[in-house]
Amino acid sequence: MTQGTNDKPAAPIRRKPLAGAFGKIRIGSETVQLLVLAVILFMFFSIIVEKFLTVRSITSMGFQMPELGVLTLAMMLSIYTGGINLSVNATSNLAAVLAGFFMVRYIPKDAAGAVVTLYLAVAFLIAIAVGWVCGVINGLLIGYVGVPPILATLATMTLYTGISVGLTGGATVTGFPTQLSVIGAQTILGIPIPFLIFVGFTILTYILLDRTSFGFKMRLLGSNPVAAEFSGINNRAIIMGAYMYGGILSAVTGILIMGRTMSAAYEYGATTYVLLTILICVLANVNPGMGRVIDVFIAVVILQILSTGFQMALSGVRGSTFFKDFAWGVLLVLVFIANYFIRGRRAQSS
């Protein structure tokens, strides 16, 4: 299925899914659809943009997508359990700001390389601890107090951003040790390190969701919380767990952002990042009790191909970086419409 065709980008979406059966294969067919879409877009840009199919541009995509990618995994968990998490981006910025403060204030200027590495490790731990605490607060509000997720995380989004603003006074935190840029700007065997981190967390999240009892319970809880409670699942604990892990993933995003920009700020990404993560989840068909990590991964790749592709295709054109936003919206609408017809055909055939 992946060999695809190289013309008419709309055709593969409408193409009949591989299998006519239900169940596993049907879920798989969504993965195939996304994969085909990714391949088509990739080929499309390889043909129309001269330098798209180069190591350089592919590497740069590898550097750019991980931030949004890891953040989307955090968003996915909340949607998967029947909620939403608007505070993901505020969490990553708060984690980055606090870890950044630590690095700026406590790393001695004359520290040796190895010592700095140790300090960096502590800074990462601080970031992750901050993310964890943010997740705990979300989990408490949603799981224990019973605030609807959209309201709870809207409130904590403001709260976490408020802490960042208060601590930094709105300024950008800079002056990090150069070793930090390993996270954001180095490669191993030609593969960008942030991309490896993204792949690592994708695999970890996949295992968590599909191979552990925690993931199993998250899925059932998302599907029907009342029945989950009546099956002896401790809903509160599972919700707490989902938001804690989401908080940690957000913190990892914060570290990735620091590594790439060598700075931390309360406003990085702002609301648009949150909405983009939701958008990717929608494209990847993530719903309460439904969704696959691999689909989310592919959807992130699609976003990046689109973004880089249009940027390169329109380079020199005024405002070229913004065309991707427009294209993204149009693509999403087209995918919705295509899904509508595919669903209709499935309903007819069954």
Binding site: G23, R211, A227, A228, F230, G232, N234
Partner: protein, 504 residues
């Protein structure tokens, strides 16, 4: 007076390979209360949908007010004065009583601007028609089910109904409310309306019917005046079997053995008071009572969903504290809920996962990972053991029929081998065949040593499975019967007596 308002003649309807109705005729007469009785899957609801125009019959003719229809549309049915009151009452929960009553008239008038004086006036007229008084500006979702039903009836009357079809109208009502509903129904009858009362509760049918029609497996098996019809006869026609409890072998209970579950003075304010009983291994203990008697609350308390306010619970002689469902499950208690869809199943999820949800920790292997192969093997084992009819355990559970869904819910708890299994209405909405098998399963589980608490208002069911039956009334245990001591009729009489006490 027996003017035929509606005649449905030689109706047949198939869904795929399943015959839902097979050459069935039904007549509805003005000024008559006709009760349509049958088990789930007998074709009752298919018939309702055909005479209200929702389904088109494969064969047969419909005559309404002398007009002949081969295929009836919903609009035509409404124009002919047919109104169906479904179990959900079809109301807007967020709107007021007045608006809910008047909305159809407003829409029919074609006006685009709402005159609230007019709305109120329509609502008042509607209420006057059945001499009801409801607060006009109350929001519907704050009202009890009985009031919502009255609104639905008023809406039907305002739509110039000549035939009102009520689908299981008493499901959510307390005994007192049922009596009030019956008074309304009798008054409608006096005015010459025809009522089709669809139910499977035979004592209600006994009370209200002028004529009783019984469906079984898509065929009409009885159609006669209510006089001279008693509950055992109706039950026979409904199920096709003489209920013969002597044929069932009951597990012997060791009377000297210590109880598996002992409850002392359990109280939940507003639910039940000072409830004490014992349940032994191998025993099936029935708990019955009317809606609102506290039977469901008792079950939910024992299962930790509504922790009791006072009293003690002992399992195998040891006192336990049950403050949450997790506690109850940890102490070896399982619960099969009454509302299967809401509380029992994950409709979009695979059958296999619906079964293994209670045992998921058993499949944990190295590093906390699940052994998926063993998990699906275990699920397959239970699917085969309980004869769930499905091509694959990976299909979502919503693809199953009611009876098979209930087997899945049962499997999920049996697989854990709990010490005490609470079954709340285990055969509600289940076809006859599955029902018999589920009863057999309950006896088997008792045989294996489980203690079973069976909550039900289905008297034949209680008689076929229970050793003892507790009758609850107004939140207290009113009587205890040993199965040998009581007949089905006597138990039924007790239940009805409880009702009259409560409605006083």
């Amino acid at each position: 007076m027996a003017e035929d308002l509606l005649r449905a003649e030689h109706i047949s309807k198939r869904f795929g390979g399943v015959v839902a109705l097979d050459d069935v005729s039904l007549t509805i007469r003005a000024g008559e209360i006709c009760c349509l009785v049958g088990e789930n899957g007998s074709g009752k609801s298919t018939m309702i949908k055909i005479i209200s125009g929702v389904y088109t019959p494969d064969e047969g003719d419909i005559y309404i007010n002398g007009h002949h229809y081969k295929r009836l549309t919903p609009i035509e049915a409404i124009h002919e004065g047919i109104q169906v009151i479904y179990q959900d009452f079809s109301l807007f929960p967020n709107l007021t009583v007045a608006e809910n009553i008047a909305i159809n008239e407003l829409l029919a008038s074609g006006k685009q601007v709402v005159d609230w004086k007019e709305v109120e006036q329509i609502a008042r007229e509607g209420l006057a028609r059945i001499n009801a008084s409801l607060p006009l500006d109350a929001v519907v979702e704050t009202l009890p089910a009985a009031d919502r039903q009255l609104i639905a009836i008023i809406k039907a009357l305002l739509a110039n109904a000549r035939i009102i079809i009520m689908d299981e109208p008493t499901t959510a009502l307390t005994q007192r409310e049922i009596q009030a509903l019956f008074n309304v129904i009798r008054e409608l009858k006096q005015r010459g309306l025809a009522i089709l009362f669809v139910s499977h509760k035979l004592n209600e049918v006994m009370e209200i019917a002028d004529r009783t029609v019984i469906f079984r497996n898509g065929k009409k098996v009885l159609d006669q005046g209510a006089a001279g019809l008693d509950i055992p006869t109706m039950a026979y026609y409904m199920t096709g079997r003489r209920l013969d409890t002597s044929a069932v072998t009951f597990e012997k209970i060791d009377e000297t053995a210590p109880p598996l579950l002992r409850v002392e003075g359990l109280t939940l304010h507003g639910g039940f008071y000072d409830v004490s009983f014992e349940l032994k291994a191998h025993e099936v203990l029935g708990v019955t009572g009317l809606l609102g008697s506290g039977r469901t609350e008792l079950a939910l308390s024992l299962f930790g969903a509504l922790p009791a306010d006072a009293g003690r619970i002992f399992i195998e002689g040891k006192e336990v504290v049950i403050r949450s469902i997790t506690d109850a499950v940890a102490h070896g208690i399982g619960y099969v809920p009454e509302d299967r869809i809401r509380e029992g199943l994950f409709l979009d999820q695979p059958i296999a996962d619906n079964i293994t949800v209670t045992l998921i920790e058993r499949f944990l292997r190295r590093l906390g990972l699940l052994d998926l192969r063993t998990k699906s093997a275990e699920a397959e084992r239970w699917i085969r053991h309980l004869e769930v009819k499905t091509p694959s355990g990976e299909l979502p559970v919503k693809t199953l029929s009611g009876g098979n869904q209930q087997r899945v819910v049962l499997a999920k708890w049996i697989a854990r081998s709990p010490k005490v299994l609470i079954l709340n209405g285990p055969t509600v909405g289940v076809d006859v065949g599955s029902k018999v098998e589920i009863h057999e399963l309950i006896r088997q589980l008792a045989h294996q040593g489980m203690g079973i608490l069976l909550i039900s208002d289905d008297i034949p069911e209680l008689m076929q499975t229970c050793h003892r039956i507790l009758l609850m009334r107004a939140g207290r245990i009113a009587r205890e019967f040993r199965r040998e001591e009581i007949t089905e009729q006597a138990l039924n009489a007790e239940l009805v007596a409880a009702a009259t006490v409560e409605s006083r």
